[in-house]
Symmetry: C2
Subunit: 253 residues, 2 copies
């Protein structure tokens, strides 16, 4: 028997699974190859949850921008809704906040939302600059839709946590773990960050709300009275839509 | 009642606990303030385990160096034992490897070991450069000794994981979790990386060896036949010594 030939035949018949990595902070993004890779931008509290809410409720698109000035400028140019918070308050010069609860269908349908956030938008732009093949945003609200997209795409996957000023945060890590629990078996995972995220999610998923109350971001947001926001942001599949980055905006894919 | 005065009195009587943070990768070290801070350098597989083994078995000191050339040069100057591996083999020009099992008392007592490692040594030098008040090395072999030192020092604590080429690894994260489980209640912890490390450790500690077999480093080291090394490196308090950095070397503190 020609073992090499036979081996090659088997190999051809059983293609390797795509790779999946988890990047726990934007400060670690440089370690990852983004070619042929779909990047999921994760900013559970609250940018990517709010993006899912707005698109699920019929927003035409969401334009993520880094700066307040950019948000005001683009908003005026497009006659769009501008939104952004700093320290739990709507930024002066903008119209709305970062809460997913502010964007019901009755308000947002058919409109364009220009959203300025710090951590999530920054990571999204970093991933684009580094040549990501595709960029989507993920949050518990659209967990299953994102998972189905990643499975169907056939690409390698990078789960990109937006973190908090580059410091690892629990809620983004947990979402990465939730994705891995749902579809990890279909990927090759040689990545301890993924292993840690999945183990952490497995350990706390029975009461994710109780765990969240120990996190830094909970303390920051609850001081602004945003408990209801956070509960919404941790609810699975409440906004089943795929926010896909295309021509400068996130649109329902 | 003068509330302010009374409040101040209570505050003075109940000083705040020192802070504890966990840094999961050298690439995140810049995020942390190291003033009045004891930094624990963690490189479980295998640098800080081997340092504990050598010092516990009576080595006079261990000099950690970044480069093979530096290792050879310092070793020759001091008439010391040189050690270092790359890809699981002793580096040409050096005498010994990175295994803790290579340094029994009969061999190492009273001698100086010049050790070159990549991840652990690099983080140690980064922490010194950034002005850490005190630097010790930690591993499961000297877990309790390190914990007792941190409690007694009264300083803030940074648990510094050496990671693998800046990528987060499980074994260093788990050691941070073990420290937090043992002494975390005596510190103020507003740090999701610490929370994640402690939760992960809690979730897998019942069979840390089974979990380790899923990690990237296990696969790397087991390919070199180093399972026994890894089992040793995961054994708690097998080398109870405090490796304290002083005048360019780690000595038993």
């Amino acid at each position: 028997m020609d073992w090499q030939k036979h081996g090659r035949h088997i190999f051809a018949a059983m293609p390797e699974k795509p790779l999946l990595h988890t990047c726990l902070s934007p400060a670690l993004l440089h370690l990852y190859d983004l070619s042929n890779t779909a990047v999921v931008i994760i900013d559970v509290f609250r940018a990517t949850s709010t993006i899912a809410a707005a698109l699920h409720n019929g927003a035409a698109k969401v334009i993520p921008v880094d700066s307040v000035e950019g948000c005001i400028e683009i908003g005026a140019e497009m006659g769009a809704i501008t939104a952004g918070e700093r320290d739990g308050k709507v930024v002066p010069g903008l119209q709305h906040g970062n809460s997913p609860l502010e964007y019901p269908r009755s308000f947002i349908e058919g409109k364009t939302l220009v959203l300025t956030t710090t951590n999530g938008t920054r990571l999204l732009h970093m991933a684009l600059k580094k040549g990501a093949t595709a960029v989507v945003t993920g949050s518990f609200g659209n967990l299953s839709v994102v998972c189905n997209y990643l499975l169907a795409s056939g690409k390698n996957v990078l789960l990109g946590c937006s973190a908090w000023k580059d410091r690892i945060n629990s809620e983004d890590t947990l979402f990465a773990g939730a994705v891995i629990e749902q579809i990890g078996e279909h990927f090759t995972i040689h990545c301890d960050a993924s292993l840690a995220a999945a183990s952490l999610y497995g350990a706390v998923k029975a009461d994710i709300w109780a765990f969240t109350q120990k996190t830094t971001h909970y303390h920051r947001l609850s001081a602004y009275g945003l408990q209801k926001d956070m509960e919404w942001c941790l609810t699975k599949d409440i906004a089943p839509v795929l926010p896909l980055y295309k021509d400068g905006a996130l649109v329902a894919g």
